[in-house]
Symmetry: C2
Subunit: 338 residues, 2 copies
């Protein structure tokens, strides 16, 4: 993964570069194709949760979402790695009840919420987490909605299940690649592989989609609009996806993924961005995506979030400034010609 | 940090290498000098908490430890990044009381214990953490003991404070280098820089030290013996330092540090080992040090901990095997000639 990766982010402590992060970046324009890249854009990778909007396409394309009266907030949750705040788990629980299903029908596994106050309340109340608290439970509720709609079997994370076959078909069409395989994700769903540029291409199709053009494009518009309209549903309080989307004010849909993947859909520029940090460090993927969003003018370069994610400071236990991030020239040198 | 680093650890998911980690390794023999290296052994780095046994030398060399009746468990705690279990925080609190001091005299800052059951008990009891719960509070109690013994001022983390000047002198003598500077650590103490091989050299001096030879060597013996005799005091339940030292049965003293540093003192072979992963990922520094300890025969290659840290499996939320670690040939090819 790292052999051909470009150095992107340095972590400084005092006068020493203490650690650094390398990775791959691809920016794809729906009309012009690949307009920028760093590292190896042909690298095959697993986009993990940053591809949830692709995994949600069957939910709309089959008509399942409308048949079950799903709102944009539900669609945002289907694309989410949520923090398990009450607003997330309550919506999942109600959604499953509407389907005549319950927590046991999910196949994502249980874990405590990422949102610490919620986790702590549950721990202190001796309330064990359910699968509804899993950060992927919205995606899985979407899968279950399609499964019910198609009257398919309950093992919807099986790679041969109709819903996963539909995801794979959409995946190959949007990336314009023959999918080289999949990994099993933290939530047990198959996660399809592509090149970095192929994933950027897929996100560019979301960016350039027109409502009403066809079922696929309409689905892509609805999902990207849902994510931008409901940043809190896509992640949670204090999380980078939520904070950056709120700061951009409906100008981009962005999504993080495990092992330091980040994807962005930018409708006004008709581009998709894919970021993969070779070592899997989220602090670096957050720094890189923030820099690219700022370079595109989607968030002011002087916005406090830009400084926080791309520079720091890195504070210690007493709030003392011990260091900072520094982005490499390869990354900061990009001047988008759009 | 990463330019000259060697690829050491791969993270696989299904048939894809999803992430990887590069780094620097130095193995120093007290008599033969540098006997093996990977990456750039001349790289300057910050050893962070893996250097706590060096930072504890003034505690013994000044006579402060004996004047205050410190036991081997106290010495192990002075070298610890502890988990804030009751056994740790209680010892710190009693230690400070013996000095006529209290929590407010520490300069490490407060944070909740790493040990989750302890943290959860405190949260549910609305018991805010003190500085005694800081993972570095044992080191700081050691600093305070020296400070009291020398009747020096209370701001013991000031780089010009007598205790820090003594640490720096020991640092330069053991690394045989002019210290190029320091960073401020998470606990606010200065953390001195060295080359990777210089730090391995320092640890080799600990390995080869003879009790009674001189004050420095006696201090080094007492600290390494204290760490090996009290693995739980050096880290905590479930932590790699504790588990690996327990498994090795008093054959090596090892210590992790933030940003993926690991150090090892191996008395029977008179060697010191320094590991720095360029990107700061602890999963990789743990894999590398475990492999090296196994290569040295200090832990059976078939021990479950060796497989856990060097291979996995990486399980998901439902306990499904989704992937594993794979060490590169550069690392596994080492056949120590000792």
């Amino acid at each position: 993964m790292g052999e051909t990766a470009e150095r992107l982010v340095e972590v400084w402590r005092g006068e020493f570069c203490e650690s650094d992060h390398r990775g791959h970046v691809a920016v794809w324009h729906a009309d012009a194709g690949l307009i920028w890249g760093l590292g190896d854009v042909d690298k095959v990778f697993l986009p993990r949760s940053s591809s949830k909007m692709i995994q949600a396409l069957p939910l709309l394309e089959t008509g399942a979402a409308d048949a079950h009266g799903l709102t944009p907030a539900h669609l945002a949750l289907a694309c989410a790695s949520h923090s398990g705040m009450t607003v997330h788990s309550d919506m999942v629980t109600a959604w499953l009840a509407d389907l005549g299903l319950g927590d046991a029908d999910l196949r994502c596994g249980a874990h405590y919420p990422y949102h610490e106050p919620t986790r702590d309340r549950m721990v202190c109340a001796e309330h064990a987490p359910g699968q509804c608290h899993n950060n992927c439970s919205g995606k899985h509720s979407g899968f279950l909605t399609v499964t019910r709609h198609l009257k398919a079997g309950p093992e919807y994370v099986d790679p041969d299940h109709p819903v996963q076959r539909m995801v794979k078909t959409a995946w190959e069409e949007l990336t314009d690649e023959t999918c080289p395989g999949y990994g099993i994700d933290g939530c047990s769903a198959p996660n399809f592989a592509s090149t970095v540029k192929g994933f950027a291409r897929a996100l560019a199709q979301f960016a350039a989609a027109n409502d009403g053009a066809d079922a696929r494009q309409t689905a892509m518009v609805r999902l990207r609009e849902a994510m931008m309209a409901h940043p809190l549903m896509v992640a949670g309080e204090g999380r980078s996806c939520t904070r950056l989307m709120e700061a951009m004010g409906h100008r981009a849909a962005i999504k993080t993924g495990a092992e330091a993947v980040f994807g962005a859909i930018v409708p006004e520029h008709r581009i998709g961005i894919a970021v993969k940090i070779a070592d899997g460090a989220t602090r670096a993927s957050e720094a890189v995506i923030t820099q690219l969003l700022a370079a595109l003018g989607l968030i002011e370069a002087g916005h406090p979030l830009v400084r926080e994610y791309t520079h720091g400071p890195i504070l210690n236990r007493r709030g003392i400034d011990t260091g900072h991030y520094r982005l490499t020239d390869a990354l900061t040198g990009w001047r988008p010609a759009l």
